[in-house]
Amino acid sequence: MCHMNSENPKIQNWGERYPIILTGFAFAMLLLIWDLLARFSGWSNQVFPGPIPVFISIGELIGNGMLLKHTIASLFRITIGFYLAVLLGLPLGILLGRNKICNAMFNPIIQFLKPISPIAWIPLAMLWFGIGDMPAIFLIFLSSFFPLVVSTTITVSSINPVYFQVAANFNFTRMEAITKIIIPAITPSTITALRLSLAIAWLVVVAAEMIAVRSGLGYLILDSRNALRMDYVMAGMIVIGVIGLLLDFIMRRMGQLESTSWQHSEIR
C-alpha cells in the first residue's frame, strides 16, 4: 500500500508508521529551542530558567510531595465542579431541547449569562462562599454549565423527528423516549461537548486557584511567583499542560466506546 507513494516512500512511511517518534522529535526540538533561548536571551536563570533547572525543580516538587498535593487539590475541584455541571446541565439541556415553552423562557437567560467570563464572578464567589474549595468549585461549575446546556439543547432539538414519531407509534412512555431515543441520539456529540467544556474547566481551575484558595496548581504558580521561583512557575505550567492532555485523552477514549459505535463505524 505504502509502496505506491513512490515519490518519497521513506518519509511517507515514517509519518504513517511512527507518529510517536515524530511527536517526540518535535518536543525535543521545542526543548532545544527553549534551552537556547534561556542561554542566549541575556536574562538570568532566575527570570528565564531553561529546561534543565525546571526539570530538576519538578523532581524536587515530586520529591517533597508538593506536586502531588496540589495536583490532587486541583483535580478534586474540577471533578466536583464538572460533575455538578454535567448533572444539572444535561437534564436542563434535554428539557430546553424538547419543551418549547421552557426554551422560550430560559434559553435567553442562559444565552445572556453564557458570555460572562467565570473570572468576572470571582469577587461575588469569594463574598458568597469565602475562601476555600467552594468558590473555586462554583467557578468551574459556571465555566462548564452554560456551554453544556447550550450544546445539549441544540443537539436535542436537532434529533430527527421521525424517531419521536416511532416512539409515539410504539407507545413509548416519556421515560422510554428519554432512555431509548434522546440519550443514545445525543451521546456522540455530547461526548465532544463534554470534552470541550472539560478543557474550559481546566483553564478556569487554575485561574480560580490563584485567587480564592491556598492549594492547587494555580496556587502553586502564584505562590512561586511571590517567592520569585520562576523554575517552580514553569514546573507548574508543564504539569498543567500534561494533565490537560491526559484529561483530553480520557475524553477521547470515551468517544470510542461501544455506545457510540453506531455512528463512528460509518466513517470507518
Binding site: 421521525v162 414519531q165 416511532v166 410504539f170 443514545p184 441520539a185 455506545s259 463505524s265
Partner: protein, 265 residues
C-alpha cells in the same frame, strides 16, 4: 379488525407569521392558509390492501399521517374499528418512507422495541427470532441499520411493524429509493405478508404498476387541495399479471389519461 372510515377530512397548513415593513412600521400578518386535503371521504374494509396513488406532494402522505394519528385534521375525523383516532398507537403502525429504524440499535433491538409488553425475556427472544426469519434476515441480527442494504432496512422495519401485531399497517412509499430488483422483491414480500397476516394495509405509492399488481382497492388522489379522483375495488386474485387482464389495462390507461399522460406504454 382493521375497518377504517375516513370522515370528510380536510387539512390546511398555516405558514408561520411573517413580518413586513411598511412606511417604517412593522406589520405582522398571517399568510393565507394553504389547503392540502379537501373533504376526503373513504372507507376501507377489514383486511383490504389499499394502494393510494397520486403525484408527489399532492397530500397522500399527509392523509396517511392523519390516519396514523401523527397530525390532526383541520376538520373531519378518522375512525378505526369504531374508535376515533386522536394519537398514534401500536394498533396502527406507520412504516416510514425514510428510515424509521433507530440507528443506535441493532436489527434485533429494533424489532424487540415492539415486543416490550412481553415480560419474559425468553418469549421476546422467540418472537424476535421468528420475525427475523419471516423477513429472512438471519445472520444480520446484530448489525446496525447503516451496515444493511436499503432493502434489508425496509425488511427490518417491516418485521418490527409485524411483531407488534397491529390491526392496520400504514406504509408511506415503501419501495421508494430501492433498485429495480429489490423493489420487485419487496413488493412480493409485502404481498406475501398481507396474504399471511390478512392485515388491513394502506400503501402510498406513485407507481401505478405497484397499485395494479398489489391492490384490493386503488385510490387516486390529485389536485391542490387533493381530492379523490378514483376509488376502485379490484377483485382479482394475486399474484396477478395486470397486462393479461383487460380490465386492469383499461384502468391503467384511464389513470394515465387522468394524469395527463397520453402515450403510456
Amino acid at each position: 379488525m382493521g375497518h377504517i372510515i375516513v370522515n370528510s377530512i380536510s387539512k390546511e397548513y398555516r405558514n408561520r407569521r411573517r413580518q413586513s415593513r411598511k412606511n417604517g412600521c412593522i406589520e405582522s400578518h398571517f399568510q393565507d392558509p394553504i389547503p392540502v386535503l379537501d373533504n376526503i371521504d373513504l372507507e376501507f374494509d377489514e383486511g383490504e390492501m389499499v394502494c393510494i396513488l397520486g403525484p408527489s406532494g399532492c397530500g397522500k402522505s399527509t392523509m396517511l399521517r392523519i390516519i396514523a394519528g401523527f397530525e390532526p385534521a383541520t376538520t373531519g375525523n378518522v375512525i378505526i374499528d369504531g374508535k376515533q383516532i386522536e394519537k398514534p398507537s401500536s394498533n396502527h403502525i406507520f412504516v416510514f418512507q425514510n428510515n424509521g429504524l433507530l440507528p443506535w440499535m441493532t436489527v434485533w433491538e429494533n424489532i424487540e422495541l415492539s415486543l416490550r409488553h412481553l415480560s419474559e425475556t425468553r418469549d421476546r427472544a422467540k418472537k424476535v427470532a421468528e420475525h427475523i426469519e419471516i423477513v429472512e434476515l438471519e445472520g444480520f441480527e446484530h448489525h446496525y441499520p447503516h451496515q444493511l442494504s436499503g432493502g434489508m432496512r425496509r425488511r427490518t422495519e417491516l418485521a418490527r411493524a409485524l411483531a407488534v401485531n397491529p390491526n392496520v399497517m400504514i406504509m408511506d412509499e415503501p419501495f421508494s429509493g430501492l433498485d429495480f430488483m429489490t423493489h420487485m422483491k419487496m413488493r412480493e414480500e409485502v404481498v406475501n405478508m398481507h396474504k399471511f397476516t390478512g392485515k388491513t394495509t394502506l400503501i402510498v405509492t406513485h407507481d401505478i404498476d405497484d397499485a395494479l399488481i398489489m391492490g384490493d382497492r386503488i385510490v387516486v388522489m390529485d389536485g391542490r387541495p387533493a381530492r379523490i379522483k378514483l376509488n376502485h375495488r379490484l377483485d382479482f386474485p394475486r399474484p396477478r399479471d395486470f397486462q393479461k387482464i383487460p380490465e386492469l389495462n383499461k384502468l391503467r390507461q384511464q389513470i394515465f389519461l387522468m394524469e395527463g399522460v397520453s402515450y403510456a406504454v
